[in-house]
Structure formats: C-alpha cells, structure tokens
C-alpha cells in the first residue's frame, strides 16, 4: 500500500539545455511505495525530470529532497535510487549473471552481510549468488545466468536490466520508457509483471512513458506533463474522468473538444445549442473547452437526439465501432458497440454528468493542481 509519507519532493525545479527550457518550476512529491507515472509527449521534460532524480542531471534551480535530505551535489552512485534505462544499457562485456551481480560486487562485505564479522570470501560469494539468483527468479531468467547478454531478445534484456537495477534493493526504482522497444503483446505482459513486482517488493516506482494506456494500467498516480510543466496530477480514473484541461483530455483517451461558452452555472452553450451540465463556478459567458468522450455519446433515434447528424465513416476497432457523425457543423467521434452504416441519420445524446467543462489553457498549460 502507498504510505502517506513524502519520500521524494521536487520544489521549484527548473532546467534548461542551452536556450530551451525543459522544466519550468516543477513542484511534485512522491510517496513511499507509490507507483508514479510521468506521462507526456516526447520533449515534455519527463525524462529530464527522471534524470534529475537519478542524479545524472542537475537542476538549474529548485530543490530535490529525498527522505528529508537535500540531494544537490550527491553523485548517482551515492543515491539509494536505481534506474532501468531506455535501451537497457546492459554491460555487453559481461554475461547475464555478472550484469546482475555488478551492483553487489561493489558493496563492502559489511553492507552485504551486516550480521557477520569478517565474512570469508566464500560467504560473500554465496551471498551474492543467493541474491542474484533470487532476482533472476523474480524476472524468470534463472535459466539464462551464463548467457551472453547479446544473445538475448529485447524482452529478455529488459528483464535483466530490471533485475540488475533491483539487486541493490533501492528505495526507488526509476524506469525510463522501459517497454518502449517491445511489441504490444509483450509490453502488456510486462506491464502487469512490473506492477506485481512493485507490489511484491513494496518499493517506489517512478515510471516515464508516453503511452497513456501503460500509465492507466500500472500507476497509483499519473503526472501528466507538457512543455516542461505539470498539467495534472491524480490517479488514472480521476485524470480520465475529470481532465483539467483540453491537453489532458486529448492526451488521455479520445475526446471531442469543442469551443463553448459557459452561460451560467450548469448551462453551457456549444454547437448552436444549450447543454445541461454539472459544472459550476465559472464566470458568466466565459469561453471554455467542452470535452465529451466518444464512448459517452449515445446514438439514439433522430426524434429523441439532442442533435441530429449523418454518419460519415465507420471503423471496426475490435470491441467497438468508431464512427464520425457530422452534426451541427461538428465532426463527432463516437464509440459504440452498435454499428450504423455510413449515410444513416442518427440522433446524438449525452447525459449532463458526461459533459466536462474546463478553462481554456494558456500556451504552457495550466499550473498543476494541488494534490487532493
């Protein structure tokens, strides 16, 4: 279970490479045993943030606090954090076993065997062996211990990279798009395995990805980033159901985003008509973004629909059909398990609670909302 103590805190982190500002005033905390995903398009600063936590980059401004201590100037090899790198970065001059044992062989005997005074070479060797084999079992690679890493497939190399990073029993594991090079099926399997590993080991995972499905599957908390800023922090359901701005709505899942005007509380005008909604607290006549998820639009009879339109295209997506319906001058993306042929006239209907109203965002996106 996620504990309610802040393990890592980022306060006002800024980072630039040359003239490009990669991180703008990042405030974030990560709790013990939390699975946090940094999610965003490439170039949003998520990897840089991970590298700052790992100690491979230094922030220009701001503080990184780990377990109450300021981490500035602490080199990577002195941090209780380990990393699974994007392209695995395995040691090609060593076999699988030695890759995993690398971190252990660097430890002092008293760190390796805390209870034993003056442990013998053999005791040390056995302890290393015990820990390496335990990790190889965890990633289901014990049969490959003596193999050269070049002889492994991408998925197997990934497992070794994870075992290598976990062998030092870090408090935090950083994962930089670790599944990016794997095929879809393997990626899905590994997602579940990583999640169960994290729960089994009870350590904090900070996971970087641009894949929203991956983020939703695994995370306790998702941090959506764009343009060096945090857009929204929350659990998957909250971010999906209540996206804070159009960027988040568009990045997580499919959305219909409409320019709308908030007439007054619970009433929004868009596509030439007034919709009832559940949002309040906006200014009167404030221009807003209105977001409707494609699966929340119901296709009904033309007599009962809020809008009436014509089906423009139909795509079969497996579980559902994706249809584009032209109504009131807008192309609506609709997901439905019932297919309506191209050219047929349908009514569109949305229940008020499925209409999401959000402030128009400024260029950099809204500032992060406080964590509930």
């Amino acid at each position: 279970m996620v504990e309610d103590t802040k393990l890592i805190e980022l306060k006002g982190i800024c980072k630039s490479f040359g003239d490009t500002q990669v991180l703008r005033n990042i405030d974030l905390y990560i709790r013990r045993r939390e699975f946090v995903t940094l999610l965003g398009p490439s170039g949003c600063g998520k990897t840089t943030m991970l590298r700052i936590i790992g100690g491979f980059e230094t922030a220009d401004e701001g503080e990184l606090i780990f377990d109450g201590k300021d981490m500035s100037g602490v080199p990577p090899y002195k941090r209780r954090v380990n990393t699974v790198f994007q392209k695995y970065a395995l040691f090609t001059h060593m076999n699988v076993y030695d890759n995993v044992a690398f971190g252990l062989k660097l430890k002092k005997p008293e760190e390796l065997l805390p209870g034993t005074a003056n442990p013998s070479r053999r005791q040390i060797k056995e302890e290393i062996d015990r820990r390496v084999m335990r990790l190889l079992r965890l990633v289901k690679m014990e049969a490959y211990a003596k193999r050269s890493v070049d002889a492994l497939s991408g998925g197997q190399q990934q497992r070794i990279a994870i075992a290598r990073a976990l062998v030092n029993e870090p408090e935090v594991l950083l994962l930089d798009e670790p599944l990016g090079a794997l095929d879809l099926k393997l990626r899905r399997e590994m997602q579940l395995e990583l999640k169960s590993m994290q729960q089994q080991l009870g350590i904090t995972f900070i996971y970087v990805t641009h894949d929203q499905e991956e983020a939703l599957t695994m995370s306790d908390t998702i941090v959506v980033m764009n343009n060096g800023c945090i857009q929204q922090i929350g659990d998957g359901k909250r971010i999906y159901d209540e996206p804070r701005n159009a960027f988040v709505a568009n990045f997580i899942g499919d959305s219909n985003i409409l320019d709308a005007v908030m007439l007054k509380d619970f009433e929004v005008q868009a596509a030439g008509r007034v919709f009832e909604c559940v949002d309040e607290g906006f200014e009167e006549n404030e221009p807003v973004d209105m977001v409707v998820r494609p699966e929340d639009i119901m296709l009904v009879g033309t007599d009962v629909g809020m809008l009436v339109g014509e089906v423009q295209s139909v795509l079969f997506k497996g579980v559902h059909y994706e249809m584009f319906v032209e109504a009131a001058g807008i192309r609506w993306k609709v997901h439905s398990t019932t297919m309506f042929p191209v050219g047929s006239r349908v009514g569109l209907s949305v229940v008020p609670s499925n209409i999401h109203i959000m402030h128009k965002m400024d260029r950099d996106g809204a500032k992060a909302e406080a964590r509930a």
């Binding site: 491979f56 990577p76 090899y77 990393t83 790198f85 392209k87 001059h93 030092n168």
Partner: protein, 272 residues
Amino acid sequence: MKRSFFSGPYALWMIMFTIFPIVFVALYAFQDNTGAFTIDNIARCFEGTYMKVLWRSVKLALECTALCVLLGYPCAYFLASKDFSKYKTLFVLILLPMWMNFLLRTYASMSLLERNGIINAIVTGLGFERWNMIGTEGAVLYGMVYNYLPFMVLPIHTSLKKMDQRVIEAAQDLGANPARVFLKVTLPLSMSGVISGITMVFMPSVTTFAISKLLGSGNFMLMGDVIENQYMVANDWSFGSSLSLFMTVLILISIGLLNRLDANKSERSDNW
C-alpha cells in the same frame, strides 16, 4: 553494369603492387644467386647475429608499444571526454604529425636531439653539461614512440567515443565511483580499441628502419635496417627476401595471437 566492375582497378593495383612483390619475395627467398632452389638463406636467418638483431627489434617494438599504450590511452580518454570535445584543435594537433612524412619527422627529431641540437643548446645555455642523446637506444625509442603514438590514440579514441554513455551511467547508478566505473566498464569496453592500437603500433615498429639509423647513429641495427642493407648495400636479394619472409611470418603469428586476445573481433574491425 556489375558492381564488381568498379573494384577492377583496385584488384589490379593489389595484384601489381602487393601480390606480385610478395610472390617474388617468396621466390627469391628460396633461391641462391644462380636461381637454384635452396633453403640456405632461410637457415641463415636463424644465425646468432640476426637473432640478436631480431631480439633487439622485438624488444624495442614491445617497449614502444607499451609506452604508446601508457601515453596514448590517457590522451585518447581525455580527448573523448565531454569536457574536451570543444578543444577540436587539440585533436588536430595530435593528428598533425601523422600527415607528414615520417622521414621528415625523424630528421626534425634529429635536429632536436643532436650533440649541437636544440635541446642541447638549451641545456648548455642553462649551464648544464651537454646531454648525449643521439645514438642512444633511448633516442631510437623516442623516435618510434613519437612516430607511432597517433596510431594508438586514434583507435582507442574511436572505441571510447562509440561507447554508449548510458552504460557508464548504469555503472554509476549501481554504485560504482568514478575509479570503479573506469576499471570495470570503460576500460574493458575500450579494450578492442587498445588491441587495434597495439596491432597498429607493434607491427610497423617491429620492422622499423631509418629511425634506428638516423637517431641511433647506426649503433642499433634493427631488422628493418638489416633487410634494407641486404637489398641496397650487400645486394643479396635472396637473403633480404628470406629475412622479409621470416618477418612476415612473425607478424602474421602475432596478429593471430592478438586476434585471439580480442573477444569482440566484429567491433574491432570498425575501429579502423
């Protein structure tokens, strides 16, 4: 048109200037001066005089190679490191001697080391005793190291530059301090470059000539000099060829040994 057509000129060149000469050397090596078959010339290679020269050549070449590794590795390492990448000029300065004929460089070294050379002018100018450099083994060794050092720096530099920075970071991440990162990751991963460098330096230095003659004042005959003498002075082409063949075989054997040392042959081949 077939692609192989374009390799024609190269193949012709190889046949004319590499294959033919080697065949002639091999033929001459087994002939006496009347053209009859003999192995006497080969047997003569194993005489004490020549074995002594061979030993001296190999010893000097080994010393030269060792010095080149010791000087070349740190040099390549700093040139490949991030902080030095802005100093492109430094890299050019390392390469600069390579672009000049080695005889010119050796003559330049001579004027530095001579009894009345530049170094001695400074030494005596400062009131010290004249330093006897030219004609010593040290001078020959200096000349060889100076000539062959770039051939060590370049392949090591290439292998260091090619190294994935993330692998270094992974080692740091797992708890290795800078010294451990170097010993356990950087050095082993750049060994292919070191072995290329050793090949590139040892091979030419074991057959060095001219340098030994010019800087050693003829006191240190090396195999290269002996072979040159057989052709140019003694006019004994058959024995010269025997010695050449003998050296060729020795070099082939050492290449074979080095290749066996190098686990990552595939990587090595693209260092040069």
